[in-house]
């Protein structure tokens, strides 16, 4: 029984335990401890993976229609598994106290979380294409179950998701079957050899199918429409889990297929004539466009959860960019961003969840001023948004910096510019987020709100703290990334605790963060020690051009927060993809109606006559006989 078996069994055991105990009070604590135990198992796997760079195999395997399916986890899967289990840990910690107590379906949430973890672990330990596909479908349906649990709008969003996911899965299936038709087995190695020998048109097909199929889960344009509503309609803790890691399964699968099975050399050799682009460039551009578009859609959202989930889509683009550059720096940056993103996004979602827990809404136009009531949630969100915006000293900055550097080294200035513009858009939208929720005027109905209980704030703050620590000491994360990089087969990136040293400009976060802290200390000295005492005043003691402010007067600038920008870029929000989707649905509706109308036994003789005439004509012409 290998460690991987223990991991699988552990995940299943959690699901079982939650099915039995999920409704009881200590369920959240039990789940949290179990995930901690799973994390420990993962930690035990690390030395094994580091020693031999080999995969840890599971002893479960079976044969079907001549194919052998087995599971083994390599460094890449291990890296993602680490994030998965950690995300589950924090999600169940968050729900272990008051938050879970007020949910009416906490047992189901616990079970589904465990099932999701199990499905993801299965996917992350796939060692061949068929196993990858099976794991992929498991993950898709598990997250469908998770998203749909609330019914109503959530069910609607989940339904949309599953259609997209299934369409993607079918594309993937087609690609896998094509590869299998040319390869000796489903093994990645065999598949790689087979792909290299394929004719160029088939290669294009395979690449397109795989990118589209797995891209659906990542929310790659134009398959992104499902993601934001689906993730944001899920209850808080589960939503944090989904946001942190679920969409990254698509990235994992893309890394496995594009980098390991197909290989960047094949991708770069697939060139399009006349536009100087190859397959890799096209996917990278797709990623970059996803990044920009999703971020600027996020900018226009008026719901905190939607805003964050739209950002999730955009951030996926960064990761894909970094990974596809396929240099040590790029892959390290991309993979590191997966982890960093998971941390700060979970913190942000949990923070919004605690705000929702107290206020009952996440509508950005109906909140404000909560900083005085929920300071800890505010601090979490502050750390989170600094990470999301990619500003120092949080971890998001380091991974983004590495991706930028790798884009520079790969001489992709336009992609880099798009990445920068995305960051700018992110800063704008996260400020809107924190401003509209926590800053500004406190509404009268939120006067008596209290901070969320410790069971919620502690995991949140811990995530925020991790965000800061891994920002100041990126070497910690980079060590984990090493395992994944080794598994992909990319040369390892030389790094130290503070960052990386490169000939073309280095980054030492220890000094950057140290300087920031020192300078802020100096700022604190200048501010607090010099000058007169300050006194906090009531929020209505505010300069409003001589106007008297009062509770019934909304004096919080929140709706349409960026009017100037909206005037310029507003006309670009045409909703082309939404409309394309809607017309597709209309079309299928009309076709369906027509077909249903055609099912009338009274018309059958006519059909038969037509079929006979057409068939006989076809028989004659195709038969080639006189």
């Amino acid at each position: 029984m290998s460690l991987l078996d223990i991991l699988f069994l552990g995940a299943l055991a959690v699901a079982l335990a939650m099915a039995l105990l999920g409704g009881t009070r200590p369920a959240g604590v039990i789940a949290t401890l179990s995930y901690a135990a799973l994390l420990a198992v993962l930690a035990l796997m690390e030395p094994l993976l580091a020693q031999s760079n080999a995969a840890i195999a599971s002893s479960v395997k079976f044969q079907i229609i001549g194919e052998e399916i087995g599971w083994s986890m390599n460094g890449l899967g291990w890296f993602f598994a680490l994030i998965t289990v950690a995300a589950a840990l924090f999600a169940s910690w968050f729900s272990s106290g008051q938050w879970g107590a007020v949910q009416y379906d906490m047992r189901r949430q616990h079970v589904l979380l465990a099932v999701n973890v199990f499905a993801m672990l299965v996917l992350l330990s796939s060692q061949d294409l068929l196993g990858l596909f099976i794991g992929w479908e498991l993950v898709s349906w598990a997250s469908f179950a998770m998203m749909t649990q609330r019914g109503g709008a959530a069910a609607r969003a989940a339904y949309r998701y599953i259609l997209y996911a299934l369409a993607g899965a079918m594309a993937v299936l087609a690609a896998i079957v094509i590869i299998r038709a040319h390869a000796a087995s489903f093994n990645f190695a065999d598949a790689r050899m087979a792909v290299a020998a394929l004719p160029s048109a088939t290669k294009w097909t395979v690449v397109a199918l795989l990118t589209a199929g797995f891209g659906v889960k990542m929310g790659l344009l134009p398959f992104h429409l499902w993601q934001a509503p689906a993730y944001s309609e899920t209850p808080g803790a589960s939503s944090a889990f989904l946001n942190a890691i679920s969409a990254r399964m698509g990235l994992y699968a893309l890394i496995v297929t594009l980098l390991q099975v197909i290989g960047t050399d094949v991708l770069t050799n697939l060139s399009v004539q006349f536009i100087w682009l190859d397959a890799r460039d096209i996917i990278m551009w797709l990623a970059a466009v996803t990044m920009v578009v999703a971020t600027f859609i996020a900018l226009m959202q008026t719901d905190a959860r939607l805003l964050l989930t739209w950002h999730g889509i955009g951030q996926g683009g960064y990761m894909l960019l970094g990974v596809l550059i396929a240099s040590p720096l790029g892959t390290a940056g991309g993979l590191m961003h997966v982890m960093n993103y998971g941390i700060y996004q979970a913190a942000l979602i949990l923070s919004v969840a605690s705000v929702m827990h107290r206020t009952g809404t996440s509508d950005l136009d109906r909140l404000g001023g909560l900083i005085t009531r929920m300071p800890l949630s505010y601090v979490t969100m502050l750390m989170g948004i600094i990470g999301l915006a990619g500003l120092p000293p949080m971890n998001g900055f380091v991974s983004k910096w590495m991706i930028y550097k790798s884009l520079l080294e790969g001489r992709e200035p336009l992609l880099l510019a798009l990445a920068f513009v995305t960051t700018l858009g992110t800063i704008l939208s996260v400020y809107k987020l924190i401003h509209n929720i926590f800053l500004g005027q406190l509404r009268q109905e939120h006067w008596e709100i209290r901070e969320a209980p410790l069971s919620m704030t502690v995991p949140m703050l811990l995530l925020g703290a991790i965000c800061f620590v891994t920002g100041a000491m990126p070497g910690l994360t980079l060590q984990l990334v090493d395992r994944a990089q080794a598994a992909i087969g990319v040369p390892l990136l030389a790094h130290h605790l503070g960052g990386v040293t490169l000939a073309t400009g280095s980054l030492n976060m220890l000094w950057v963060v140290g300087t920031m802290l020192a300078m802020m200390g100096m700022g604190a000295v200048i501010f607090y020690l010099l000058g007169g005492r300050h006194r906090a005043v009531h929020q209505y003691d505010n300069y409003a051009g001589g106007h008297f402010l009062s509770a019934d007067l909304r004096y919080h600038f929140s709706h349409e927060f960026y009017p100037g920008l909206a005037r310029v870029i507003g006309p670009w929000y045409r909703g082309w993809i939404v409309r394309a989707e809607a017309s597709l649905i209309r079309l299928s509706d009309i076709i369906g109606h027509a077909w249903r109308g055609s099912f009338d036994a009274g018309i059958t003789p006519l059909y038969v006559m037509a079929a006979l005439v057409a068939g006989l004509l076809w028989v004659r012409s195709a038969g080639g006989l006189p």
Binding site: Y159, I585, D589, P605, R620
Partner: protein, 174 residues
Amino acid sequence: MTLPWPPEFISANLSEASLLGHAMIAGAVGLIVIGLYAMVVERNLARIILGLALIGSGVNLFLVAVGYRADAAAPILAGSMAPTAMVDPLPQALVLTSIVIDVGVLALALALAIRVHEAFGTLDTREVQRLIAKAAAENDRGSPPHRPDQHVSPSVARKEREKRADIPRLEELM
């Protein structure tokens, strides 16, 4: 394009083209076409059943024609002597079977038609279809008609569905 006449198998089987052979084939095809035509254009179930009968007769005639040989005798074995050339006996056996089946089926059809007329007071196939759908809908525990979209345009159907709130509608869901 040349007409496929006479068919390949006929020219193979009919050693010399006989008028009767041609007439039988033409008659069979004619009967089938007339029957099909009747089934396509008629809406009265009785007439449709008649069309069905015509097709059946046409097919039977065709079967007989398949076994026909212009210069052969009937396949009757008198004693131990066999005629030198016989009409193929098998199709005739088949036709007998087929006729029996046809009779049974047509009887069943007419019986059902009578039952339909008793129940609905009409034999118009479209009317019958409508009444069947209505009856099936009423069967569904008095719920509203379950095929609103069979008789109205898609947009009207959609609007009807939109009236029922809180149930995921297709266009909303996708």
